[in-house]
């Protein structure tokens, strides 16, 4: 029992060896046309996965048993920590979160191996082998620079330093696994793309195989980002939901590129065009995921999320990045130039609209990439220190995003290859007029702001166009509406749901920015303050003892039209092990508005500085994220992906 951490370490070493064999044997088998070597891919994948998962479980056990002789456990846990936080503390630091990363990678690989009977005999093993290469690199990274199993012997500490209080939260229990499911999931599309380059099989079929995998990864990434934003909103104590922090950008970039990839895969599968572009996007998407990992862990950028920086790790992961991304881009340069598209490209067809989608999404990705790396590049040329913040991103990102959303309304109506302009006009004039009129109506009740008015009109336009398209599809035949609606394929509903999700998020963003009130007031017990037709009465504070913290809880009664609607209890916590202060905001959530109170600093006597926010429709931002995720999953579960495809 006492040897368990050593067992975990040993399992990881074994996993790396199996991953290495997986990276080599099937690849050799492919080039030598040796069926036996090819057939090793599946069992090797399973063994690698089992070993990695077992190692992960061992680390979780070390946390659950408070084994503070393990350095990583002593740095990220404490005997007083509630058990669910002990388990989530496994990914609370650099080493453990990397182990989670690789565990998820192997799980994706195992899932792919299970499903590989739908792939041609030579493709499946090559795809798994590519995943084996990535796994080898990252397992080596863990073993050589960041093992979570290192011991603190013989002077083992009596108790641990505790998990960072910011991470002691439900949002942070599920946020990293979801985010990594997305990040890492793109490795499957990447592996398909590389396998297609290696085998020279750059036809439409690789796109068809990669589509459901990409959709599912994208759905997880969407959920992960939404959870992260929700967590930042209630945990950081000042009510913002997106900060354009380098680490947030690191998750947004693969999401944007992945969104482009989903659409470009559709064109490649259906029309056989954009072939080499789609391959590049698949490489690009996963590269951005890796880049995110590098930025967070190497310490080249300052960020609230950054892990402790360590130059050796930075060098190692940069080398890994160069090998994986560099060699795939090199392979791409050699192979993609030989690809010729056979099918002609329809200038007025849906492929053109999706090309616009891809161009705009790529520009958005590069915008974020530039904004994130600009301080770094600026510093590298000794031009000084600068920081690129929200003003840049808001000014550059949002107009392009709005333009994209305008096109989002039109593209689904267009037919492949050729669409008559008159058709598009017939379908879209009514939604355009309605959206403008409705948006203007809303702004008669509110101070006019041209930009917000336009944004709201665009959000409505998207909703109306989705409805218009659906109506057109269900009303076009004599069958009953219900029958017709049921016959529409799942991937169509998936698309509609995801597009509506974008509109819902956009509406949330617009209303939060135009109709939110915030005040910072000094309140002594008995004081009342009115914020946006809500009355807040401060009753005082009381002292509370938590499992691993002490806290002052403010008691605030909220009245609407003289009626008591809620009692809100914001907290100021002191976590003992780290002596760290934390603000725990109180939330009164609602479909159309959130009340948000955070306790500031104690002023003289019993008076406190208190921040009160009333935020309209803020929940819609994450609701939209959930819709997008559901859309992505629904599209991936479409019946046509279940069919066995050509051998």
């Amino acid at each position: 029992m006492i040897m368990l951490p050593e067992v975990g370490h040993y399992l990881l070493i074994l996993a790396m060896m199996f991953a290495f064999v997986l990276a080599v044997l099937p690849m050799v088998g492919y080039f030598k046309r040796n069926a036996i070597l090819l057939s090793t891919a599946k069992p090797l994948t399973y063994v690698m996965t089992i070993l990695t998962c077992a190692s992960f479980v061992v680390l979780a056990i070390a946390f659950a048993q408070d084994d503070f002789s393990v350095l990583y456990v002593s740095q990220n846990s404490n005997s007083l920590l509630p058990i669910w936080y002990k388990v989530s503390a496994v990914w609370g630091g650099h080493e453990g979160s990397l182990l989670l990363w690789i565990t998820i990678l192997t799980l994706w690989a195992a899932l792919l191996a299970l499903k590989s009977h739908t792939l041609p005999n030579s493709t499946g093993p090559v795809v798994l082998s590519v995943l084996g290469i990535i796994a080898t690199g990252f397992l080596a990274f863990i073993l050589f620079t960041s093992s979570p199993f290192l011991r603190l012997l013989p002077d083992q500490p009596v108790d641990g330093v505790d998990l960072n209080p910011l991470l002691q939260d439900i949002g942070l229990i599920i946020h990293p696994p979801m985010l990594y499911m997305g990040y890492v999931g793109f490795s499957v599309a990447f592996a398909f793309a590389i396998a297609a380059l290696i085998t020279g099989n750059l036809n439409a079929s690789w796109a068809r195989w990669a589509r459901p995998w990409t959709n599912v990864s994208w759905a997880f990434l969407t959920l992960g980002i939404a959870l992260g934003s929700w967590w930042a909103y209630y945990e950081l104590g000042w009510g913002g939901w997106w900060f354009w922090d380098p680490v947030e950008n690191a998750s947004l970039m693969p999401w944007l590129a992945g969104t482009a990839l989903i659409h470009s895969l559709a064109v490649t599968e259906k029309r056989g065009v954009f072939k080499s572009w789609t391959v590049l996007l698949a490489i690009f998407t996963f590269s951005l995921s890796l880049l995110g990992t590098f930025l967070v862990r190497s310490g080249v950028l300052t960020s609230v999320h950054a892990f402790a920086s360590d130059p050796t790790r930075g060098v190692f992961i940069l080398a890994l990045l160069v090998i994986i991304i560099g060699s795939s881009l090199f392979l791409y340069a050699l192979r993609a130039s030989q690809v010729k598209s056979k099918v002609s490209f329809g200038l007025t067809g849906r492929e053109s609209w999706l090309l616009i989608n891809n161009i705009l999404l790529t520009i958005l990705t590069l915008t974020v990439l530039l904004g994130t790396l600009y301080p770094l590049i600026f510093d590298a040329f000794d031009l000084g220190k600068i920081s690129v913040g929200a003003p840049y991103f808001n000014a550059v990102f949002s107009p392009i995003a709005l333009l994209l959303i305008i096109f989002m309304g039109i593209a689904p109506l267009a037919k492949w290859h050729n669409t008559k302009g008159s058709l598009l006009w017939r379908m879209s004039w009514l939604p355009a007029i309605l959206a403008t009129a409705l948006s203007s109506l809303v702004f008669t009740f509110h101070d006019f702001d041209a930009y917000l008015w336009l944004s709201f009109a665009i959000a409505l336009w998207l909703v109306l166009m989705c409805v218009r398209d659906w109506l057109d599809k269900v009303l076009s035949t004599r069958q009953s509406l219900w029958q017709r609606a049921c016959k529409l394929p799942r991937h169509y509903y998936g698309m509609q749901l995801a597009h509506l999700g974008v509109a819902v998020s956009l509406i949330g963003v617009i209303f939060v920015s135009m109709n939110s009130t915030e005040t910072i007031v000094r309140m002594a017990p008995g004081d009342r303050v009115t914020v946006a037709h809500y009355d807040f009465e401060f009753l005082g504070t009381r002292h509370v003892e938590g499992p691993n913290y002490t806290a002052d809880t403010g008691i605030i009664n909220v009245y609407e039209n003289g009626e008591n609607i809620a009692q809100m209890l914001p907290q100021k916590r002191l976590y003992q092990a780290r002596q760290q202060m934390m603000t725990e905001a109180a939330l009164n959530p609602g479909f159309t508005r959130d009340l948000y109170i955070s306790l500031g600093e104690r002023l003289e006597g019993d008076a406190w500085g208190i921040r009160i926010y009333v935020k309209s429709f803020v929940r819609w931002i994450w609701l939209g994220g959930l819709l997008m995720m559901a859309g992505g999953l629904l599209a991936a579960w479409d019946k046509r992906y279940r069919r066995k495809t050509g051998a």
Binding site: F330, Y332, S337, I377
Partner: protein, 169 residues
């Protein structure tokens, strides 16, 4: 020629990799201040000792350190002893008690010794905002004429003092 186009992503990536390599191991925490080269902003603050409101004219007529500290800040207690040593060596240090409670601050200085030639009370943190500080402790090197020469975030210790000393001349 067209073939070369496909190498663009590869070349762009290699260039980016080179930039990353150069940046590894650099101290990202280092933050020069935009105020370097400028005069100390105008202020009116209470002098802890005399309880009188003083302004820029109360500052020393020789190069000095302007140190933001507070009793709530653990790193400040870490650097306090070293500031005492510097004061004994004859370095003129002006303290700004930042967002703090005055009685606690007085007790702190009585117990641990007072390295400051002058302590200003910035209870609301307005002066801190004017000086662009992000937290305590922060230390500025200021010239005899009131020009800000250097800014340091974090604890002042022997290693940091070597840098600061250069600016004190």
């Amino acid at each position: 020629m067209k073939k070369l186009l496909f190498f663009i992503p590869f070349i762009a990536f290699v260039a980016l990799g080179a930039v990353f390599y150069q940046q590894l191991g650099k101290d990202t925490e280092y933050m020069p201040s935009a105020l370097v080269g400028q005069q100390i902003p105008d202020f009116k603050l209470v002098d802890m000792e005399t309880d009188a409101v003083v302004n820029n004219s109360a500052m020393p007529n020789e190069p000095y350190l302007l140190n933001f500290w507070a009793t709530w800040c653990p790193s400040c207690s870490a650097e306090h002893a070293y500031l005492g040593e510097l004061a004994e060596q004859g370095v003129n240090i002006v303290g700004v008690d930042y967002k703090d409670e005055t009685p606690a601050a007085k007790r702190w200085l009585a117990e641990r010794g007072n390295p400051y030639s002058l302590v200003l009370l910035d209870e609301m943190g307005h002066f801190g905002v004017d000086m662009g500080i992000t937290g305590a402790p922060e230390t500025f090197v200021v010239s005899a004429t009131g020009e800000i020469l250097y800014r340091h975030q974090g604890v002042v210790d022997e290693a940091v003092w070597k840098t600061l000393k250069g600016y004190m001349q």
